[in-house]
Assembly symmetry: D2
Homo-oligomer: 423 residues x 4
C-alpha cells in the first residue's frame, strides 16, 4: 500500500470520523442504549468501539506519553480481541447505561484530538507508512461500523411496536418490474483476489488462479416481486427447496417472508425501512433474506447462486457505482445502473449472497498481532456476500471485498442474484 501524505491522511481521518457523527444525528439519547438482539449492538457501543480501535491499535502504540481516557474502556469496548484481554460479553452490551452518551462523545473528541496531534508529528518514512496503513485500517473499520449502525438501528426500531423512523426518506419513482436477463461468461483459468496499492483486508489476498466452468449470471438481483411469487407458491412450506439446516431455521422461527416484511390488516404487504413503514415495491431488489432463503429460491427457480469467484470475475472492470450510503436512501432502489450494463446493481443496493463458504485464499497470511483476529478467526459457518449495499460507504467497497455472515442472518442488507451453468 502506498503511503498517503500527512494532509491527505488527516483529511480522510476527519472526513470518515465525521460521517459517523452525522449518522447518529437523528438519534435520541435513548436510541443509543438498546440492544434488541444479541447480534445487534447499541449505537453508543459502536461510536465508543471505533474510537477505542484508534486508541488501542494506534495511540497506545505510536504516541509517546499517551494517557488513555479511561482504563476500564479496554474491557468495555474491546469487541473480540482475545489477545488484548477479557471484554464485556457481546450479548450484554445493552445493559450498560454508563458511560453516558455525552461521556462517549467526549472520548471521541479526546481521541480525535490526540490522533490529529499524532498525524501532525514528524515520522520516518517507515513509521509514516506503518501509521498510514493502520489509520486506513481504522477508517475502514469505522466504515464497517457505519453500516452496522444503520443495520442495528433498523433492527432496534423494528422490534418497537411504534415502528419509529430513523429519518425521512424520499419515495421512489414507481417503475414497471422487468425480468432479469442472463449474461454469459466463458470461464476458464481466471484470477481473483486483491493485488496492488490500494487498501484491502488481509482476507482478500493473495490474488490467485481459479478455474471456472462457463456460467451465466443474472443482469439484476432478484426483486421483491419475484420473491413474492416464491412465497405465494408455498416456498416457505415446502422442504424440498431447502437445505436441511435452513428448513430447521424456517420451522423454528416460523419464517414466512423476508425480515421486515409486514402484512397489514388489509392483508397487503408492507415493508419496514429506515424511513418507516412503506408499501412493498415489487420492483426493488429483495433484501434482508438469509442465505437459506436465497438458496431455496434459487433451487425453486431451477437456478443456483454464483460462487464468489464467478461473482468477482464478472465484476472485474465494472465502475464502483450504485446506490450506497452517500445517497442516503438507506434502501434498495428500483433504478438501474445504465453505466454497468449488461450487469446492473453489482455494487450497492444489496449485498449479494454467494454459494461460497468463507475460507482463506491459497497462500494467504493473516495480519500479525491482535489484528490477525480481525478476519481469519471467523472462517467457519459463514457464507460470502459481495458488492456492498445501500448502507455501505462508497469508498469502502471493492470488487475483491469479501463480506461474510452466518447463513441464517438477515439483519444485514442481504439480497442475491441468480446464476446458472451454461446450457
Amino acid at each position: 500500500m502506498q503511503t498517503m501524505d500527512k494532509e491527505t491522511l488527516t483529511g480522510r481521518y476527519a472526513e470518515v470520523r465525521n460521517v459517523t457523527m452525522k449518522l447518529i444525528e437523528p438519534l435520541e439519547k435513548e436510541d443509543f442504549i438498546i440492544q434488541s438482539d444479541a447480534d445487534v449492538s447499541p449505537p453508543k457501543w459502536h461510536i465508543a468501539h471505533t474510537t477505542w480501535f484508534f486508541e488501542r491499535m494506534i495511540l497506545k502504540e505510536f504516541k509517546s506519553g499517551y494517557e488513555e481516557f479511561n482504563a476500564r474502556f479496554d474491557f468495555l469496548f474491546n469487541s473480540y480481541y482475545n489477545s488484548i484481554g477479557p471484554y464485556q460479553p457481546r450479548h450484554e452490551r445493552g445493559v450498560l447505561s454508563r458511560p453516558t452518551v455525552e461521556e462517549i462523545i467526549a472520548y471521541r473528541q479526546y481521541v480525535d484530538s490526540q490522533m490529529k496531534d499524532l498525524l501532525a508529528e514528524t515520522h520516518t518514512p517507515e513509521q509514516a507508512h506503518q501509521l498510514g496503513k493502520l489509520v486506513e485500517m481504522g477508517l475502514q473499520h469505522e466504515q464497517q461500523h457505519q453500516e452496522l449502525i444503520l443495520m442495528d438501528v433498523k433492527y432496534n426500531f423494528f422490534v418497537n411496536p411504534l415502528f419509529p423512523a430513523y429519518k425521512e426518506t424520499q419515495a421512489q419513482q414507481a417503475i414497471e418490474p422487468k425480468e432479469a436477463a442472463f449474461v454469459e461468461f466463458a470461464g476458464g483459468l481466471v484470477e481473483i483476489g486483491h493485488q496492488g496499492e490500494g487498501f484491502a483486508f488481509d482476507n482478500e489476498s493473495p490474488r490467485h488462479k481459479v478455474w471456472l466452468e462457463p456460467f451465466q449470471l443474472a443482469s439484476e438481483p432478484v426483486t421483491n416481486g419475484e420473491f413474492l411469487e416464491f412465497i405465494e407458491a408455498g416456498g416457505y412450506e415446502q422442504p424440498e427447496h431447502w437445505l436441511s439446516d435452513g428448513w430447521g431455521v424456517v420451522k423454528k422461527n416460523n419464517w414466512k417472508a423476508p425480515l421486515y416484511w409486514l402484512k397489514n390488516e388489509q392483508q397487503q404487504w408492507e415493508i419496514f425501512t429506515l424511513g418507516g413503514v412503506k408499501n412493498l415495491d415489487l420492483a426493488e431488489p429483495v433484501s434482508h433474506v438469509s442465505f437459506y432463503e436465497a438458496d431455496a429460491f434459487s433451487r425453486w427457480k431451477g437456478k443456483r447462486l454464483p460462487t464468489e469467484a464467478e461473482w468477482e470475475h464478472a465484476a472485474q472492470n465494472l465502475p464502483i457505482q450504485g446506490n450506497m450510503m452517500e445517497q442516503e436512501a438507506y434502501h434498495p432502489s428500483t433504478a438501474q445502473n445504465e453505466s454497468t450494463a449488461p450487469l446492473s446493481k453489482m455494487f450497492g443496493d444489496v449485498w449479494e449472497w454467494t454459494s461460497s463458504a468463507y475460507s482463506s485464499y491459497p497462500g494467504s497470511k493473516p495480519l500479525e498481532g491482535a489484528l490477525g483476529e480481525y478476519n481469519a478467526k471467523f472462517m467457519s459457518n459463514q457464507m460470502i456476500l459481495r458488492g456492498g449495499s445501500c448502507a455501505t460507504p462508497a469508498s469502502h467497497i471493492r470488487e475483491t471485498y469479501r463480506n461474510f455472515f452466518p447463513p441464517d442472518k438477515r439483519w444485514q442488507f442481504g439480497g442475491f442474484r441468480l446464476a446458472d451453468d451454461q446450457a
Copy 2:
C-alpha cells in the same frame, strides 16, 4: 374503607406521585432505558406503567370524554392484565428506546392534570367512595413501583463493571454486633388478616382465626456477620442444609454469598449499595438473600423461619417505625428500634422471609374485573415476606401486608429473622 375528602385525596395523589419524580432525579436519561435481567424493568417503564394504571383503571372509566394520550400505550405499558388485552412481553421491556423519557414525562403530566380535574369534579357519595378506593389503589401501586425502581436501578448498576452509584449515602456509625435474643409467644387461637377502614390489598383479607403452637421469635434479623459464619463454615458447599430445589439453584448459579457481596483483590468482603461499593458491615441485617438461603441458614443454625401467621401475630400492636424509604439510606441499618423492644426492626430495613407459601386466606374474595389479576393469580411458587424494607415507603406498609417472591429471587431487599418451637 372510609371515603377521603377531596382535598385530602388530591393532596395525597400529588404527594405520592411527586415522590416518584424525586426518586428518578439522580438518573441520567440512559439509565431509564436498560433492563439488565428479565425480572428487572427499565425505570422509564415504571414511570409510564404507574401513569397508565391511573389512565386505564380510573380516567377511562370515570372521566367523561377522556381522550387517551396514546392508544399504543395500552400495549406498551400494561404489565400483565390479560383481561385488558395483549402487552409487550415482560422480558422485552428494555428494547424500547421510544417513547423517549421526555415523552413519558409529558404523559405523566397529562394524566396528573386530568386526574386533578377529575378529583375536583362533583361526585355522588357512592362515586366518591369508589373513586377514592381506586385512587388509593393506584397510589399503593405507585408505591410498590417506587420500591421496584430502587431495586431495579440497583441491579442495573451492579451488572455494570463501573459500579455507578445512584446517590451519595451517609456512612453508618459502626456498632458492635450483638446476638439476637429469642422472644417467647404463647400462641393459641389467634387472628390475623386485615379488617377495618384503612387500605389493604385483597390478599390481606378476611381477618381469620389461626391456631398457633407456642413459639419463639428472634429479637433481630440475622446480620451479615452471622451470615458470614455460615459462608465460612462451608454452608454453600453442603447440600444437607438446603432444600433440593435450592441446592439446584446454588449449583446452577454458582452462588457463594448473598447478591451484591463482592470479594475485593485483598480477599475482603465488600457490598454494592445504591451509594456505591462499601466495606461489608457485619452488624447490618443481611439482605438480598433468597428464601433458599434464609431457609438453609436457619436449618444450619438448628432453627427455622417463622410462618407468616407467627410473624403477624408478633407484629400486632407494634408501631410502624423503622428504616424505610423516607430515611433515604436505601440500605439496612445497624441502629436498633428502641421503641419496639423487645422486637427490633420488624418494620423497615429488610423484608423478612417466612416459611409460608403464598396462598389465599379462607373465605377470601379477589377484586372483580382486571384488578382481580392484581394479586390472586400469583399464588403459586411464591413465598411470603413481611415487614417492608429500607426501600419501602412508610405509608405503604402494614402488619398485615403480604409481599411475595419466588424462593430463588434475591434482587429485592430480602432478609430474615429466626424462629423456633418452644422447648
Copy 3:
C-alpha cells in the same frame, strides 16, 4: 411404631417384593431401558434402586460381614441422597444399557437372600425394633416405586406412536354420569396428622390442631364429562381462570386437554390407558391433570380446591377402600364406593390435588441421617395430593398420607374434588 415379629416381617418383605416382580412381568427387556422424559425413570432403574435401598440402608448397616454386590451400584442407583455420595444424574438414567436386566434381577435375588438371612438372625429387642422400622420404610419405599413403575411405563408407552398396551384390562360398565353433591362440614378446631403405632412417613407428624372455617366438599371427584365442558367452553384459551404460572405452562406446552387425551381422526376423544387406547368415558374421574388445570377448572366453576386439612378432616374415619393397584384396573373407575357415602372415592381412583403447598407440620422433626433427605428437602414448589390412586397399593395409603408434586406435573394419576366455603 410397634415391633413386628420375625415371621410377619419376613412374610411382608417377601410379599411386597414379589408384587414388584409381578408388575414387571408384562414388560419386554427393551421396555426396562427407556426414559422418555426427565421425570420418568426406566423400570430397570426402579427395580435396582429399591433393591439398593435395602442394601444401603439396612444390609450395610446391620449385617456383619456383608459384601456388596457391586461397588459401582452406589453411584448408579442412589436416587438423590447427597449425604451418601454422588450419583448418576436423574435425567441420564436412560442412557445406561448395562448392567443388563438379568444382572439386576440377580442383584435383587442376592439382596433378598441376604435380607432373609438378616431377618432370621437373633436381635436384641432394640435392634429388632430399629430393623423392623427400617424394613417397613424400605417396603413403603418399594410401594411408592410400584406406583412409579406404572406411571412411568404408561408415559413411556404413550410417547411411542405404536401406543403399546402394558396389559389387557377389563372394559368398564357404562354408567350414566351423575352430578356430585356437596357435603357440609362444620369445621372448628380440628386435628390432623399422624399419631400412633402404624407406619407413617416423617412428613405426616406430629398430629396437630388446625382451625377450619365451615366448608363443603364434593361427594365425587370431577369427571371427564365435567372437564370436557370446561374444554368446550374454551377454558384452555381464557387466561382469567388460570394462575399466572399455570397460564404460562399452558401456552408453552400448548395444552388443550389432560395428558393422555387424544382426538382421533373422527374428532372424537379417546384416552390412552395402561390397557391401550379407549374411548373417553365421561363418567370416570378425570385424571392426569396438573394442579394448574385443577385450580383453573375450580375457579371457572366458581368453586375452589380443598385444603389438605379440610380433605383429611373429611376423610377421617372412612374405611380405606376403593379402586387401587390390587384391582389391576390401573385406571379410574366409574363405580361408586357405597360404603363411604356420602363421600365416594376418597381413597383410590385418583390422587386429589389440594390447594395446600407442601410444607412441614408445626413441631415436625425429619428423620436423622440420609433418610432425613427422604421427604423434607422437597418442601418447595410442590402441592399436596391426597387419597391414593388406582395405581397405589392398598396397604400403602392412609388418611394422613401426603403425596406431593410440582404444580405442572401430570404423569401421576392426579385428579381433584371441588370444595367451597359455606354459604
Copy 4:
C-alpha cells in the same frame, strides 16, 4: 454404472446385509435401545432403518403386489426424507422400546426374503440396470450405517460409568513414534471427482478441473503423541490458535483433550476404545477430534489442513488399503502402510479433516426424488473428511469419497494430516 449380473448382485446383497448382523452379535438386547446423545442412534434403529431403505426405495417401487411389513414403520424408520412424509424426530429415537429387537430382526428377514425374490425375477435390461443401481445404493447406505453402529455403540458405552467393552480387541505392538515427512506436489490444473463405471454418490460428480498451487502433504496423520504436545503446551487454553466458533465450543464444553481420552487417578492418559479402556499409545493417529481441534493444532504448528482437492489429488492412484472395518481392530493402528509410500494411511485408520466446507461440485446434479435428499441438503455448516477409517468397510471407500460432519463433531473416527504451501 455397469449392470451387475443377478447372481453377483444377490451375493453382494447377502454379504453386506450379513456384515450388519455380525456387527450386532456382541450386543445385549438392552444395548439396542439407548440413544445417549441426539447425534447417536440406537442400534435397533440402524438395523430397522437400513431395512426400511430397501423396502421403501426398492420393494414398494419394483415388486408387484408387495405388502409392507408394518405401515407405521414409514414413520418410525424414515430418517430425514421429507418428500416421503413425517418421521420420528431424530433426537427421540431412543424413547421407543417397541417394536422389540426380535420384531426388527423378523422385519429384516422378511425384507431380505422379498429382496431375494425380487432379484430372482426376470427384468428388462433397463429395469435390471435401474434395480442394480438402487440395490448398490442401498448397500452403500447400509455400509455407512455399519460404521455408524460402531460409532454409536462406542459413544453409548462411553457415557456409562461401567465403561463396557463392545468386543475384546488385540493389543497393538508398541512402536517408536516417528515424525511425519512432508511430500511435495507440484499442483497446477488437476482433475478431481468421480467418473466412470463404479458406484459413487451424487456428491462426488462430475469430475472437474481445479487449480492447485504447489503444496506439501504430511506422510502420516498427526499422532496422539504430537497432539499431547499441543495439550501440554496449553493449546486448549490459548484462544489465538482457534477459530472464533471453535473457541466458543471449547469453552462451552470445557474440552481439554480429544473425546475418549481419560485421565486416570495416577494422572496418566488412557483412552476408551471399543475394546474397553487402554493406555494411550502415543504412536497411534489421534482420533475423535473435531475440525476445530484439527485446525487449531495445525495453526499452532505453523501448518494448515489440506483442501479436499489437494487430498484427493495426492490420493489418486494409491491402492485402497489400510486398517478398515474388516481388520476388526476398530481402532487406529500404529502400523504403517509400506505399499503406499511415501504417503501412509491415506485410507483407513482415521477420516481426515480437510479445510474444505461441504458444497456441490460445479455442474453437479443431485439424484431425483427422495434420494435427492440423500446428500445435497446437508451442504451447509459441514466440513469434508476423506479416506475412511478403521470402522469403514473396505468396499465402501474411494479416493473421491466425500464424508462430511459439522466442525464441532467428534464421535466419528476423525483425525487429520497436516499440509503446507510450498516454501
